[in-house]
C-alpha cells in the first residue's frame, strides 16, 4: 500500500562528490515489495521547491524498519535534502511503482546488473536479494569520474564488480558497454538502471536477451494520476503508452520506445 509517511532521518553522509546516502526510518518500509521501487520525497515544508522528488530505494532493512536512499545533490530539492540532520522528519510518499522482477532469474543462473551514475542505487538492493536467492550477480557500474564512484565495496561483497569511468580515472575507461562487450552474453538476465542513452545502448547490445530496464521521467503525482511521466511503447505492445511512475519504473527491455 502507498502511504504518506513522516520518516525520521537516522543517518546521512556524503559518500562521494555531491552524492549522499540517507537512512530513513518509518512504517513505509513495511510496505516495500521489490527492489527498484521508489519513493516521492517532499524536501521542504514550503511551496518552493513545490514538487516531490522521485528517489529509488537503495536498500531495505525490514527488521529495523529502515531504508537507505542514495542521491546526487544537484538542484534545489536534493540540495535541501542533503542539509537534513539526524532526527529531522521527512515527508515521504511510497513505496511507488513496480520494481525489478526477481523471479525472472533462477537460483544458480547468472544476472548482469548494469548501472549508470545515480541509476546505480536500486541495483544494490536488487543484487542483495538476487544473491540471497542463489543467483550469481555481475555488476557493471558506470560513472563520470572517480570522484563520484560510490558503493564499490558494497557491490564487490556481493559479486564481481566492474567500475567504468568516462574519463578513465577509475576502473575501465569508457562506457558500461565497453565492459559488457568483453563479458559476452553468457548470462540469463540483465537488469539496468541509468540515463536513457545508456539504457538504449545496453538494449541494443543485448537484442534477444531477457532484460529489465528502469526508466526516469519528470513526474507530477508519482502515483499514476497526472499523465506527466508517460512513455510511448513500441509497436506490438498491447498498451499504447505506459506511465513510468505506476506501470514502471521497471519495464521489460524492448517495451518502451526510447
Amino acid at each position: 500500500m502507498i502511504i504518506q509517511d513522516q520518516m525520521t532521518v537516522i543517518a546521512q553522509s556524503r559518500i562521494a562528490e555531491n552524492i549522499f546516502e540517507m537512512q530513513l526510518a518509518g512504517k513505509l518500509v513495511g510496505d516495500i515489495t521489490s527492489p527498484g521501487q521508489f519513493v516521492h520525497i517532499r524536501t521542504a515544508d514550503s511551496f518552493e521547491p513545490l514538487l516531490r522528488r522521485p528517489i529509488s530505494i537503495a536498500s531495505v532493512d525490514k527488521e529495523a524498519g529502515q531504508m537507505t536512499i542514495i542521491y546526487r545533490a544537484e538542484g534545489r530539492g536534493t540540495t535541501i535534502l542533503s542539509e537534513k540532520r539526524d532526527g529531522d522528519v521527512v515527508d515521504v510518499l511510497g513505496p511507488l511503482g513496480n520494481g525489478f522482477p526477481l523471479e525472472e532469474t533462477e537460483s544458480g543462473e547468472t544476472a548482469i546488473l548494469i548501472g549508470g551514475g545515480i541509476g546505480v542505487p536500486p541495483l544494490y538492493e536488487l543484487s542483495k536479494q538476487l544473491t540471497a536467492k542463489g543467483v550469481k550477480c555481475i555488476h557493471v557500474l558506470g560513472f563520470q569520474s572517480s570522484d563520484v564512484v560510490f558503493y564499490e565495496d558494497e557491490f564487490k561483497a556481493l559479486g564481481d564488480t566492474h567500475i567504468v569511468t568516462v574519463d578513465g580515472s577509475q576502473g575501465t575507461k569508457g562506457f558500461v558497454t565497453t565492459v559488457l562487450a568483453e563479458l559476452g552474453d553468457n548470462f540469463s538476465t540483465y537488469y539496468s538502471c541509468g540515463p536513457m542513452p545508456m539504457l538504449d545502448a545496453v538494449q541494443r547490445l543485448y537484442v534477444g536477451k531477457k532484460g529489465f530496464l528502469s526508466f526516469e521521467q519528470r513526474m507530477g503525482c508519482g502515483i499514476g494520476a497526472c499523465f506527466a511521466c508517460v512513455c510511448q511503447t513500441t509497436e506490438g505492445t498491447t498498451k499504447p503508452y505506459v506511465k513510468v511512475c505506476s506501470d514502471g519504473p521497471v519495464f521489460p527491455a524492448g517495451m518502451v520506445a526510447i
Binding site: R42, P49, C221, A225, C226
Partner: protein
C-alpha cells in the same frame, strides 16, 4: 445541519471541496489512498471524442511555488470514459463533473451530449481554456463571441448543467464570463493555467517538449483570487474557484473572493491527502472565524 453543504446547479455538494480536472485522473489512483465519497465532487480529466496520447515528454517542469504542465489532454476518449472510467466511479457517493474538451464545436457537442447522459455525471465543465493543445481549447476561451456560441451549442444538448472553465490568459476575463452567462452557462469554473515557459540552463531550450506549458500552483493564486473577485461582481451564476489552493486557509480566500465552491489541482501532487485534510479542517476554521455555515463566507470580500 451540515455546515459545509453547498448547493449549486446540478450539484448537491456535501462540502465545497473537489479535485480539479487533470490533477486526479479518473479517481482510481487516489481511490487507493482514501474513500472518494468524502469529496464534495470530482472533476475528472478532460474527455475528448477520440483517445489522445498527448504531448511528448517532458510534460512538467517546476517553477517558483508553481509548476508548468503540457500534458496535452491525454485521455482514453469518449468511449473509454463511458465504458470504463465512469462506471468504476459509480461505487462512490460523489457527483462527477465531466470536463469536456475538443477541437471544434462539433466534437465538444458530441462529447457533451454523450457524457452528460451518464448517470453519475451531474454537471459538465466545458474546457475552453486548455493552453496545451494546438487548435481548439484556448481559442474558444479568449473570444467572448466564440465562447458564447460554444456554450449555447453545448447547452442545447447537455442533460446536466453546464459550467464553463475560463482561461486567465485574457485582457478582460469579465467579458468572457458575461458572454458565457449570456450563452446559458449554469456556472463558471476558474482559473485554468497561465501560459508560461521554463528554459534549460545548459541548452537554453524549453524544458517542456511542447515549448510552453500551463502554470499552476500557489504562484498563481493572487491572479486567480483577483479574477474570481472581478467575475463574481459581474455575473449571477455561481463560480467554482481554483488556482493554487494548497491549504484550508486558501479555501476561505476563494470563497471570500466570490466562489461558491473550490477545486484543488496541483496540491494533490504535493500532498495526495490534501482534499480530505481540508474537508476535515474546515469546521474548526469556521469556528475560528465565528461562522456557522460555510456559505456565509461566499463573496465576503465585496461586502463592507
Amino acid at each position: 445541519m451540515n455546515r459545509l453543504a453547498v448547493e449549486l446547479p446540478g450539484l448537491q455538494l456535501k462540502n465545497p471541496i473537489m479535485p480539479a480536472s487533470g490533477c486526479f485522473g479518473f479517481g482510481k489512483e487516489y481511490g487507493n489512498l482514501y474513500d472518494l465519497s468524502v469529496l464534495g465532487a470530482i472533476m475528472i480529466k478532460a474527455t475528448t471524442l477520440e483517445m489522445r496520447l498527448g504531448n511528448p515528454t517532458p510534460r512538467v517542469a517546476e517553477t517558483a511555488s508553481g509548476m508548468l504542465n503540457a500534458i496535452g489532454l491525454q485521455n482514453p476518449g469518449l468511449q473509454g470514459v463511458l465504458e470504463e472510467e465512469l462506471p468504476w466511479l459509480k461505487q462512490f457517493d460523489v457527483p462527477i463533473i465531466a470536463n469536456v474538451a475538443g477541437t471544434e464545436t462539433e466534437d465538444y457537442v458530441e462529447v457533451a451530449k454523450a457524457v452528460s447522459a451518464a448517470p453519475n455525471v451531474k454537471a459538465l465543465e466545458l474546457n475552453i481554456s486548455c493552453p496545451n493543445v494546438k487548435c481548439g481549447g484556448i481559442t474558444f476561451g479568449t473570444d467572448p463571441e466564440i465562447a458564447k456560441e460554444l456554450t449555447k451549442a453545448v447547452k442545447a444538448v447537455s442533460q446536466v448543467p453546464v459550467y464553463v472553465k475560463l482561461s486567465p490568459n485574457v485582457t478582460d476575463i469579465t467579458a468572457i464570463a458575461k458572454a458565457v452567462e449570456a450563452g446559458g452557462a449554469d456556472g463558471i469554473t476558474m482559473i485554468n493555467t497561465l501560459v508560461g515557459m521554463r528554459l534549460d540552463q545548459k541548452t537554453g531550450r524549453p524544458i517542456i517538449a511542447n515549448g510552453t506549458g500551463g502554470l499552476s500552483g500557489p504562484a498563481v493564486k493572487p491572479v486567480a483570487i483577483r479574477m474570481v473577485y472581478e467575475v463574481s461582481k459581474v455575473v449571477n451564476i455561481p463560480i467554482i474557484g481554483m488556482g493554487g489552493i494548497s491549504e484550508t486557509a486558501d479555501v476561505i480566500d476563494f470563497l471570500s473572493a466570490g466562489a461558491s465552491a473550490v477545486a484543488v489541482g496541483t496540491a494533490n501532487f504535493v500532498n495526495p491527502f490534501i482534499c480530505p485534510t481540508i474537508i476535515e479542517e474546515l469546521p474548526a476554521k469556521l469556528d475560528e472565524l465565528g461562522i456557522k455555515h460555510i456559505s456565509e463566507l461566499i463573496g465576503r470580500s465585496h461586502r463592507l
